[in-house]
């Protein structure tokens, strides 16, 4: 881990060196002179080097968001091609092999390369701003996490472009994924790509967790965290626990395929079901990890447009954690038909039905927030409010699949396709589009166009429901999943045509949304610091925020820092005008884990190309492994090793400073 960590404790004592790393920070107001000094200290150098070397969380966040949206577009085009193939029975636009690669790549793209990174992007951008902090805890790790995500995406798509994309679904069941049945490089690209991407997810998650524990402004105790923090933090804890399961599974599969091990090979005593357990122990919690932060966006955004605090902050925050905890105990509901014993089926069935309870808490909280507020119907509000509707539809269909005997019919039919799209678009894509409208002014200093925003909302909302609501019925009428075509006598032609038409309307909605984003970036109305009169800390700094985020570190006295005067809940007030002035270089404040008491001054690392080089070295390493070319692998390994030496090379400038007065 990088040096500004809590573990590099400063021993008490009187030697010269220890004296030099202790000092008392000044407390004072912000001033123009201070802001200019901080700007010089924090700004990223111009030019290509600066672009590759930046460790600014805002820059990294935007990159995440842009890359993930590009992935959304690619995955969307793949979906449209599939919808053309399925528009009528027995069509021959695609061969079965092409279709199988397309549906697998679509799933992998949307789940791994869009849904999770987009939330990492928003969280990366927003966390330090929401915390009143200068940066994430580990800025270089943050840059690394992005570069690896990009490299892993390029790695997997290199496979797609040479015709060797994943072709056994995102779930990649063995033995079909074994060399014997799938001898191309398809599954090797996917396996190694997933292990590669897992590194990005893991280091990103570690960074979020340490940032949560150490980087909040003084006074931001855990009962004052915005819900998006609860969501992303919960997801990050989960990721640290579950990503090893899937990385291991893919590693074992790769060994099976390339080195004739027998982990999943029946002939050698291996177990196909071992794969399913490892995959779904990861896969189901992962589904929660890619919706909980987005639910947080709704919980934080909706109240701003309803002009009142969220109803039931504590139940919603705790429900976020409870969903995740229960989420660890439901993976077998993906395996109800595998012949497991009845008792374990009953247990997992009950858990899967119960998980509706914490989800319902969020839904009722959102409805009550609208009901007890004065909703102002902006485009962002529409996206957030539509989440409630889509989440409920996705929720009740999930409830149906939780019942084992019913699931035996529903599973692997289009009913489940409808369910998962209501969940993933409903509580990932729609909240993200709302969040884009909501935070775009903060990101760019300009407003998105409201009129075009409404048009894009109604087009996406209509298109989505026309495409996916009928799919429930398509499933109940017996259409199996993952089929490249279907016979005419199944009676499924007309309803599939409806879904195809809907999917194109949905695509037009996305197009309008992206046009709005691109146009508003340069032509939108100037936003000002707080165009929505929102209540959290990011709205107290300028739009876009300066590289150092806050000239002085604010002190927090409540959950609604910018609404305190109007709410009048207590007499305490957050102090955003005066605070620690940390300007002896790139400094940030570390606070205690629960109560956010100031503890240390952190010296943050400067921009550096080291993370980029490490990701590039890993790309070489993984490419070498893919083609089993050991010289290339060794070169990649050497680049990584040299780079890590440079990364960990001790630097006196990065030592923490303990407060001199204790």
């Amino acid at each position: 881990m990088s040096p500004p960590s809590a573990t590099a404790a400063v021993a008490p004592g009187g030697s010269n060196r220890e004296q030099s790393i202790r000092r008392t920070p000044t407390i004072g107001p912000s001033s123009n002179e201070l802001r200019e000094r901080l700007q010089r200290i924090w700004e990223t150098k111009p030019g290509l080097y600066g672009w590759l070397a930046t460790v600014d969380h805002k820059e990294i966040g935007i990159r995440y968001i842009v890359t993930a949206f590009v992935m959304l577009v690619i995955g969307g085009i793949e979906a449209l091609i599939m919808r053309v193939q399925l528009a009528g029975p027995e069509q021959t636009l695609l061969t079965p092999q092409q279709y199988n690669m397309l549906f697998s790549t679509h799933g992998v793209t949307m789940i791994f390369l869009y849904a999770s990174p987009i939330l990492s992007g928003f969280s990366n951008y927003l966390w330090p701003l929401l915390f009143g902090s200068r940066d994430m805890a580990f800025p270089r790790l943050n840059a690394l996490s992005y570069w690896i995500y990009l490299a892993a995406g390029i790695f997997m798509y290199a496979g797609v472009f040479v015709g060797a994309g994943p072709n056994d679904g995102w779930f990649n069941y063995v033995p079909y994924a074994q060399f014997r049945y799938d001898p191309g490089l398809n599954i090797d690209f996917y396996s190694l790509g997933m292990i590669f991407l897992g590194i990005s997810t893991s280091v990103g998650a570690a960074n979020f967790i340490v940032t949560l524990l150490r980087m909040r402004a003084p006074g931001m105790s855990i009962n004052r965290l915005p819900i998006i923090i609860w969501g992303t933090a919960t997801a990050s804890f989960a990721n640290l626990l579950i990503v090893p399961a899937v990385s291991l599974a893919f590693f074992l599969l790769w060994l099976d395929r390339q080195f004739h091990t027998q982990f999943f090979q029946v002939s050698g005593g291996g177990q196909p079901l071992l794969w399913q357990h490892l995959f779904w122990m990861f896969g189901h919690p992962w589904v929660y990890a890619i919706v909980l932060p987005a639910m947080g966006m709704v919980s934080d955004g909706l109240p701003v447009f309803c002009r009142r605090p969220l109803v039931g902050y504590a139940p919603v925050a705790l429900a976020t954690v409870a969903t995740m905890l229960l989420g660890f105990g439901v993976w077998v509901h993906h395996m109800f038909a595998t012949g497991l014993p009845g008792l374990s089926l009953a247990f997992f069935s009950a858990a899967s039905i119960l998980i509706a309870v914490p989800s319902a808490i969020s839904v009722f909280s959102w409805i009550a927030t609208i009901w007890l507020g004065r909703p102002v119907i902006t485009a962002a509000f529409l996206f957030f409010a539509s989440t409630i509707v889509l989440f409920v539809i996705g929720g009740v269909s999930g409830f149906m699949t939780a019942s084992v005997p019913v699931d035996w019919e529903l599973t692997d039919t289009y009913f489940v396709v409808a369910h998962l799209h209501y969940v993933l678009l409903g509580i990932n894509v729609f909240p993200v589009m709302g969040a884009t409208h909501f935070w775009f002014p903060k990101f760019t200093g300009r407003m998105m166009d409201e009129r075009l925003g409404r048009w894009s909302f109604w087009t996406t909302f209509t298109g989505f429901n026309v495409a996916f609501l009928p799919m429930h019925l398509t499933g109940l009428w017996g259409m199996p999943r993952r089929v490249y075509t279907y016979p005419v006598e199944m009676g499924l032609g007309p309803i599939n045509m409806v879904s195809t038409v809907g999917s194109f309307v949905l695509a037009i909605g996305f197009l309008l949304f992206f046009i709005n984003v691109l146009r508003s970036r340069t032509r939108g109305a100037p936003a000002g610091d707080n165009p929505w009169d929102a209540y959290t800390l990011e709205w107290s700094t300028s739009s876009p925020p300066p590289p150092y985020n806050f000239a002085v570190i604010p002190t927090v006295a409540s959950r609604h820092m910018l609404w305190e005067d109007q709410l009048g809940e207590t007499r305490e007030r957050s102090n955003l005008e005066e605070g620690f002035i940390l300007d002896h270089g790139k400094e940030a404040l570390a606070t205690s884990a629960l109560d956010a008491e100031p503890q240390r001054i952190l010296h943050m690392p400067d921009d550096t190309i080291i993370p980029f080089v490490l990701a590039a070295g890993m790309l070489v390493l993984f490419s070498g492994l893919l083609v089993r070319n050991w010289p290339i692998t060794a070169i990649g390994g050497l680049i990584c090793a040299a780079d890590l030496v440079a990364w960990f090379w001790p630097r006196i400038s990065l030592l923490e400073r303990g407060p001199a007065h204790g």
């Binding site: 061969t95 079965p96 309870v357 009722f364 909280s365 409630i388 009740v396 599973t411 089929v483």
Partner: protein, 316 residues
């Protein structure tokens, strides 16, 4: 109308499952309508015009609304618990086979279904492909094995899916309560022709089933015409490595047993009607009909095809 639709069924399993499914569907629709109604109603009655002023004031009239969350939860718990209990009841009811079942061994292969029957008295066995006959009103225990990858045995009108997993034998039971042809379909992605891995379960009245069983047990009749004899020798030479016809030297087990091919209504795993034109087309150009299938195109000359077809048509 929808041969694979499972909102209604004709089996002993679906008789327990369909009412639960319909109950859950109704609960789901009611919940959706109520929630959507609440959202729309709230927005319609409480909305403020968009403007600079509406985004400057804060609603202070309702300080706390957390009781609405608890009320909503309390109402939600009722259908959730009812469903959980009903689910366990259905699981208990469908868990074990009622009565004395007929046993059929199913082997799922890419991309077709091999059903093996054995006569309890004599221990004689016969195999059929993609058309599984069962007697009406009698439970049938299926032992499911896979020859290659994971498949899933699914006849929606009779029962839900059970995965067919290499290295283990899964069991399930079905019972048809009315005669008919029930379409089945592989329910787990298994590669190129997963889409066309269909089959039929044919439920016959008991007497008719016994007759069918007796007839299937017979080996093939020796060919009666010169043409058919020539067809048989062509078949033995070219097709016999993968296919078997009992009573001839063709003993291959890779592809379907063709002993009574003409007694089946469909070929190519439920994809084509079994008629001479479709049969010739399939033999010649299997890869065009089902790209990726394991049956290769036969580069067969016109006269040979005529002989072969003449023979296949004797396999009644």
């Amino acid at each position: 109308m929808h041969p694979l639709g499972y909102l209604s069924g004709s089996g002993a399993q679906t008789a327990s499952v369909v009412p639960l499914m319909r109950f859950m569907l109704i609960v789901s629709i009611v919940v959706t309508v109520v929630i959507v109604g609440l959202v729309i109603w709230a927005i319609m009655t409480k909305r403020e015009p968009v403007g600079p002023r509406s985004l400057r004031t804060i609603a202070l009239e309702h300080r706390d609304g957390v009781k609405w969350i608890w009320t909503g939860l309390a109402i939600s718990i009722v259908p959730l618990l009812a469903t959980a209990l009903w689910t366990v009841a259905v699981l208990a009811k469908t868990g074990s086979v009622p009565g004395a079942p007929l046993t059929v061994d199913i082997v799922a292969k890419r991309w077709w279904w091999d059903a093996q029957y054995s006569d309890g008295a004599t221990g004689e066995r016969f195999g059929v492909a993609n058309e599984i006959h069962i007697p009406v009103g009698r439970p049938v225990l299926l032992h499911l094995r896979s020859a290659d990858v994971i498949h899933s045995f699914w006849v929606p009108k009779l029962a839900g899916k059970t995965d067919v997993i290499p290295g283990q034998v899964n069991a399930m039971w079905i019972q048809a309560d009315a005669p008919g042809r029930y379409r089945g379909q592989c329910g787990e992605f298994c590669g190129a022709q997963h889409a066309h891995m269909a089959f039929y379960v044919v439920a016959d009245p008991p007497l008719q089933f016994a007759q069918w069983e007796r007839q299937q047990m017979q080996p093939a009749f020796p060919p009666a015409t010169v043409q058919a004899s020539a067809g048989l020798s062509y078949f033995t030479q070219h097709c016999g490595r993968c296919h078997s016809v009992r009573g001839t030297p063709a003993r291959g087990t890779f592809g379907p047993d063709l002993t009574h091919l003409m007694s089946r209504e469909t070929i190519a795993a439920g994809m084509l009607q079994n008629n001479p034109a479709a049969l010739s087309g399939w033999v010649e150009n299997a890869q065009i009909v089902k790209p990726g299938a394991l049956m290769p195109n036969q580069h067969i000359s016109g006269p040979d095809l005529t002989l072969l077809r003449a023979y296949l048509e004797t396999l009644r």
